[in-house]
């Protein structure tokens, strides 16, 4: 399914169009035998990790559901549209899904700015949108009737980072962040959290996500005598920072967020295992790709993608698609956008087996994923050391 040939896609679309045509007043994108889901996100460019790769994970669930006969007799069809991580293109992609592909719902949203760009369009169309990766709070707070997220929102992560530092007894807390859209949507709520607690960060350093070297940043943080560093950065910059901090003999409590959740992989990226001794991160999943508990998924994954390696991004897709499938199931035989919305808003304590905590949405709160599991490496094995659940 993954690399459907162009011809097959065309046939599928044509077939879909013919089937979708019949007279009975059915919801857009739904027939007696199919339900069409639009996958929105970056398929090309650097954002593909938060788009294509997550979609690949979701595809496993959708294909497995189809193998088992579908949901209420309906097979899931997916249509992908590329937002190239750019707002203008994201609007085109959303419009294409809504008006041309006529999908029932959208499952996607990677790069935050692209999602923010497409947001008014999707909101106005009253089409269900389950966000799988975009963390910007403005997308789901205040809630729009049809828009939900299974991603840990930026503010939840940022508040957790600060709280964790305080729990660890840190007295002089500093921040190192990248200030692209991803970083800033986390940095801002983090600074608000600082203000609320009446704390001033002792240093506030910046680095680019693709940095090859972080010695200046490490030296400045060391000079500021920071005993804990909150890291709002990508794995590459984090690897450079941990390595260079170790190099200059600086050993703060390093506190990451979900982008740094795969500690075993991060260790390899750092290249210096000792540099990881005081590193903690939030994981948005309960198990890492290489854990024994994930064996069944690894097996399935290798059937669908024999040449690739299952990563956290794939797992996120699996977990998010599980939520979508569950809600489609609950929405029943007479599937409409309204029934999907209503069931999604009622989803309570749904355990995906993958996210650290249960998924709960309410009419007032569409940020359905709230549990941040703190992980660290203990004797080279990843261990959950604490869990913070943030209420609102």
């Amino acid at each position: 399914m993954r690399r459907t040939s162009l011809l097959a896609t065309a046939l599928m679309l044509a077939g879909g169009a013919i089937i979708a045509a019949p007279a009975h007043a059915q919801e857009v994108g739904v027939t007696d035998t199919t339900v069409r889901i639009g996958q929105l996100g970056a398929l090309t460019g650097p954002g593909y990790l938060y788009g294509k790769i997550i979609m690949d994970g979701a595809e496993i669930i959708y294909q497995e559901v189809n193998k088992a006969g579908g949901i209420h007799g309906r097979k899931i069809e997916t249509v992908r549209q590329d937002d190239r991580c750019d707002p203008a293109t994201a609007i085109a992609a959303a419009k294409k899904l809504i008006f041309d592909d006529k999908v029932f719902m959208i499952h996607g949203g990677g790069c935050t700015n692209a999602s923010v760009g497409a947001f008014p369009e999707i909101k106005a169309a009253n089409i269900p949108w389950v966000i799988f990766a975009s963390v910007g709070d403005s997308l789901t707070s205040p809630p729009s009737p049809h828009i939900f997220t299974t991603a840990l929102s930026a503010s939840i992560e940022s508040v957790s980072q600060l709280e964790f530092a305080l729990q660890k007894g840190a007295k002089r807390i500093a921040v190192i962040s990248q200030r692209d859209a991803w970083g800033r949507s986390r940095y801002q709520p983090l600074m608000e959290a600082f203000k609320q607690k009446g704390i001033t960060p002792v240093a506030d350093e910046e680095i680019i996500g693709e940095a090859n070297d972080a010695t200046p940043q490490a030296l400045r943080l060391q000079a500021a005598k920071a005993d804990a560093v909150l890291m709002v950065i990508y794995p590459k910059a984090a690897a450079a920072f941990l390595r260079d901090a170790h190099k200059i003999g600086y050993k703060p409590i390093a506190i990451g967020q979900t982008a740094l959740g795969d500690l075993p992989v991060l260790t390899k990226q750092v290249g210096v295992p000792e540099a990881m001794s005081n590193m903690f991160a939030i994981s948005h999943v309960r198990y890492m790709p290489e854990d024994a508990e994930m064996a069944q998924w690894r097996k399935l994954f290798s059937e669908y993608f024999p040449r690739e390696t299952m990563s956290l991004y794939h797992i996120l897709g699996i977990a998010s698609a599980k939520v979508v499938v569950e809600v489609l199931q609950r929405a029943g035989k007479d599937l409409t956008r309204e029934s999907f919305r209503a069931q999604m808003a009622k989803l309570t304590n749904f355990d995906t087996g993958i996210y650290p905590g249960p998924i709960t949405c309410t009419e007032q709160d569409h940020q359905c994923h709230k549990s941040a599991a703190w992980v660290a490496l203990v004797d080279g094995k990843i261990k959950t050391v604490a869990a913070t659940t943030v209420g609102r």
């Binding site: 790769i53 690949d56 200030r179 693709e210 090859n212 200046p216 260079d244 190099k247 040449r307 990563s311």
Partner: protein
Amino acid sequence: MLGYLITSGLALGALYALVAIGIVIVFKSTGAINLAQGELFMLGGFFAFMFHVQMGYPYIPSLLLAVVASFFIGALTYQFAFRPLMKAGLVSVLLASIAVSFLLKGVARNIWGGVGDYIPFPPMITASAINLNGFIVLPQQLVAFGASIALMLLIVAYFKFTRSGKWLQAIADNVKAATLVGIRVGALHRLAFALGAASAGAAAVLMAPLTLLYPDIGFNLFIKAFAAAVLGGLHSIAGAVIGGLIVGLVEALVAGYVGSKFQDVSAFVVIMLVLVFIPRGIMGGKAMRKV
């Protein structure tokens, strides 16, 4: 603090210098800028990853194979993308090289994009930091630094002492005269693009343990390396190395003393100033425009 900033600036600069060398090799001999030079670096790294990690070949042969493979990719891109355009003008070659960079990125993303986000590559020697007289350095950075100097000397020697190197120099100086004395200019242009790609491949295998591998690594590296090459005068291999080291040092010192938010932009500010005030680059060299 200054000591660490200087060493890390030099290590960063060695990375830019290694990529800049490839840009200069191509420009020096053909007058073209290959904007896909960063993607050739990326591909070289992934080749090494494929041979060593995915196919399990031993370390050194894998690295050599990666350089050889890069060489052929360079020759191939010349043959199919640049050769017909060498007479059409710089703008066409620039755009063609952009097209090639999209192609290479797309191919790499579809082959290796599903393996991980920033793919680690095992270092040549032990990963752990070593203590040199109270000063801690990473062995891989030393290796990379030494290797970039060695690579530079190798290429300078190539241009000075080998026949094809001298010919490359000759066509750079006067393509018409070179044609008249029977030098096959097309073949030499191909060689220049191939050598440029091979040096990008060599840079990648040296640097991959530090830079990590991902399909989009090329652009950011290219733009800093391009700045370095222009700083060095675009015609000189040694100039490219010095230019690279300067860009690296500026980034480290600005980040350390002025503020880390200025790190990424400092190179561009320097390049704007240099171009406006010393347009021939620090290694001087030839007039960039004779009228």
